[in-house]
Symmetry: C2
Subunit: 338 residues, 2 copies
DNA sequence: GCTGATTATGGAAACGTTTCCATAACTGTA
DNA sequence: TACAGTTATGGAAACGTTTCCATAATCAGC
């Protein structure tokens, strides 16, 4: 059975197709009476415009892409939900895609956009250090980065970003530990090279130590990949080679909680023997035992802003912008004064 | 600048549009030589077919919907990722939507399908107890349920489901506690009525007690909503009115971990004073302190099967089916023998 | 009631595909 | 060489909209 189309409605209502089209799209130049009449017919016959035809004619879709880097992560999951909510309220369909193979994130974005004819794209995480102006130009649609680091030397008017200052956030986390009297502070960071989220959080750690004239020890440093498992493993290595540390900063809550397991397994207590601080402030953090002190990211605001920026550009012809959110330490029970 | 279209390619290649179309769609009746030639032109000009036009002509899209019930939940987040992976490999775009308002899930599904012209829909969670055959008929596209309970008296040939036996799983969890010597067992379930996931898990609890001739105590029962917070609050109430319980079964890990916080805050220890068992086996369960004994759901297999069923129906004309996965208790450190 | 301006409406082209149908170009056989 | 049968190709209609342009209807001012 063929679906009813605009012609059917026009015929039944005894008007032209253009008038029906105008009613559907809320154009003002239709007589109130006619509008009502057509509206009724539409309701009665349960008519829903064909999106493909619409998109074809308009030469654009109402689809936006959400490219998510890496494996499952509760912080990202939270972002996805809030972004979707906002975007769908604005009438857009959100097509998600996880870039889990190792293709360059920018290439994944390009393919995603062209293949699905997306109107815009939001990248959640990912590594864009090698990004060039040409890469962005090639995309042809609004490009928004979030939860990642943005490269230097890029034309800032050609893309948007909604991020935090990772170095600063990290600095305050380590300062928190130092203020508590710690100087033997382990670091569980991520293994990336280039200017990534991980390297900036590492920078913050280094800077805090330097500012406080604490000598940086290379063997206090270990690497994971933002998961429980890798945090656990990194902590085990750390405990073996740096058994004198009194505090640990893990650059994600997942890794911090993984590390906690290793600490506990070794017979040490948190925070009595080792203080522990994480990063993100995912829900898990406050419900961990002991409740985890961590760096809070305003995930809800970040997500909403990210979506709003895209909608503003798409619907209102807004310009690209770069917003940086503040983070704050939320003190719970996983750190002790020395 | 207009995008290159099939006519451009045809003109440049010196062939008809239909031949180009045949090449694009891999039809066999094109001479190898011609195919090669056209292929080259396509590559050279970076031509990508317009999906809207294609969809319009074919009168169908390549979009499938993923309707997610309720707020952020790590179990669902995990499912989303695996389902997307599978579906996108099969060439489908996955449009997500969270049904967070209180509209009936089946209505949300209907709107989602018609509005976006979806080829099929997967519902993650949600309440479908009032579902009728007519509701499903109205959808007109393959309808797959997962992580929910499916109503009785429905024509099973008209939809698919990929689920677990909630009552049985719950039964084994409580039996585990009973076998450990517990008889004063608190229950933190969900507040739904009807035949929902929560009621079935409650049923399993009741059945286990009955089978072991343990009298059911109404004040051992509390209600939450699958979140840390509600689990915490439920446990606080439970502790107040049923301070003699020696074990608690929470029907989701999130609630179990929330409950753990309340137990710990009250000065009691886990498992020494109170044994605790959860449900789902999210990643966090094994990294909680103490590691949480829980009911393991094979989330990866469930997700993959769900996606595969949909693809099979869509691409191979497969029939609807109903698969039930086994669960198992994974014993960790949150339960003690009495 | 006439004019000119304004408002409301209808017709048809165009968006970029796919596919049916017709025909051209080849094959192999007699 | 002629023919039927196959294979390869091209043309054009159709999918369901939106929007431009033309025209019909209405209105205000005299």
């Amino acid at each position: 059975m063929r679906n009813t189309n605009i012609k059917d409605i026009a015929r039944i209502a005894g008007v032209g197709v253009s008038t029906v089209s105008r009613v559907i799209n809320g154009h003002p130049e239709v007589k109130e009476e006619t509008r009502k009449h057509i509206q009724e017919i539409i309701e009665k016959y349960n008519y829903i415009p064909n999106n493909s035809a619409r998109n074809l004619k308009r030469t654009e879709t109402m689809d936006v892409g959400l490219l998510i880097k890496g494996m499952y992560n509760p912080f990202f999951a939270r972002m996805v939900q809030s972004i979707e909510k906002r975007l769908s309220m604005a009438g857009y369909s959100v097509i998600i895609h996880y870039n889990i193979d190792n293709s360059k994130d920018i290439d994944a974005a390009y393919e995603f956009i062209t293949e699905k004819k997306l109107r815009g794209i939001i990248c959640l995480g990912g590594d864009f250090d090698q990004l060039t102006d040409e890469d962005i130009e090639r995309l042809r649609v609004p490009f928004i980065l979030t939860s990642t680091e943005i490269p230097l030397d890029l034309d800032k008017t050609k893309f948007s970003s909604v991020i935090i200052d990772n170095e600063k956030a990290s600095y305050t986390a380590v300062m928190h530990l130092i203020n508590l009297g710690h100087s033997k502070i382990g670091l569980i960071s991520s293994g990336e090279e280039d200017r990534s989220v991980g390297t900036f959080r590492t920078e913050g750690y280094i800077k805090a130590l330097r500012d406080q004239q604490i000598e940086k020890q290379d063997h206090y440093f270990e690497v994971g990949a933002y998961t429980f498992e890798t945090g656990y493993l990194a902590m085990k290595r750390l405990l073996k080679k740096a058994s004198d540390i009194t505090a640990v900063f893990a650059i994600s809550d997942l890794m911090a909680i993984g590390a906690a397991r290793a600490i506990l397994e070794s017979g040490r207590r948190i925070p009595d023997d080792i203080s522990l601080i994480g990063f993100d402030d995912i829900d898990y953090a406050s419900y961990f035992n002991p409740p985890l002190t961590t760096v809070h990211q305003p995930v809800e605001e970040i997500a909403e802003t990210t979506a709003d920026v895209l909608v503003d550009i798409l619907d209102e012809g807004g310009i690209h912008r770069h917003v940086i959110f503040d983070t704050e330490i939320v003190v719970r029970a996983s750190c002790n004064a020395l």
